[in-house]
Symmetry: C2
Subunit: 110 residues, 2 copies
């Protein structure tokens, strides 16, 4: 995860990484009050095992394809597909191809 | 704005509208606890005058190009550009070309 996050009003590049994907790490893009936005980079075959996030989230596929397990079913997300997951909904992701996801988490307020 | 919003786990299409843009209305995609996600469709020349949103937001250009006024400067967002705007930051948007934006608002908690 990179250390420098975008300030309010600063442009952020969320274009597909393409050939650079294999050399690019996952990166937090925005860390603000109750919000975290990051690009999650997965090489084909990589997975994020079943887990719960720190709050409700949206997940948008920027490139490639992933399988998402949530709510008892498996769906494929490709570039241009987005999903909303309610707070505390367990989910898992597996990359079917090199893929990057734009994930925005509404951090739970305790 | 459409009446049916995506449930948790339901796939949402955020691909560019392309030729269908001129026949497509802005649409709320997710309305959940403290979160609203919508696709804002602007024909070339259309604008959202200076305003404040109902909370912090991210704005991602899905297609076309818009000018964003915020923080005392004007920047152009094209497909793949995203910006985070802090809560209560006044901003205005003008479409330079037919454009659609994916906007996620963290609704302010009062």
């Amino acid at each position: 995860m990179a250390m420098n996050h975008a300030a309010s009003g600063e442009l952020i590049d969320v274009r597909p990484l393409g050939a650079a994907l294999r050399q690019t790490h996952s990166r937090t893009l925005v860390r603000a009050n109750h919000l975290e936005v990051f690009r999650f980079v997965l090489a084909a075959g990589q997975a994020a095992p079943d887990h719960k996030a720190a709050g409700a989230l949206t997940m948008q596929c920027l490139e490639g394809a992933v399988e998402l397990d949530a709510h008892g079913r498996t769906q494929i997300l490709q570039a241009g597909d987005m999903v909303y997951l309610a707070d505390a909904e367990p989910h898992a992701v597996r990359a079917l191809e090199d893929a990057s996801l734009l994930i925005s988490i509404l951090l739970r307020r305790t």
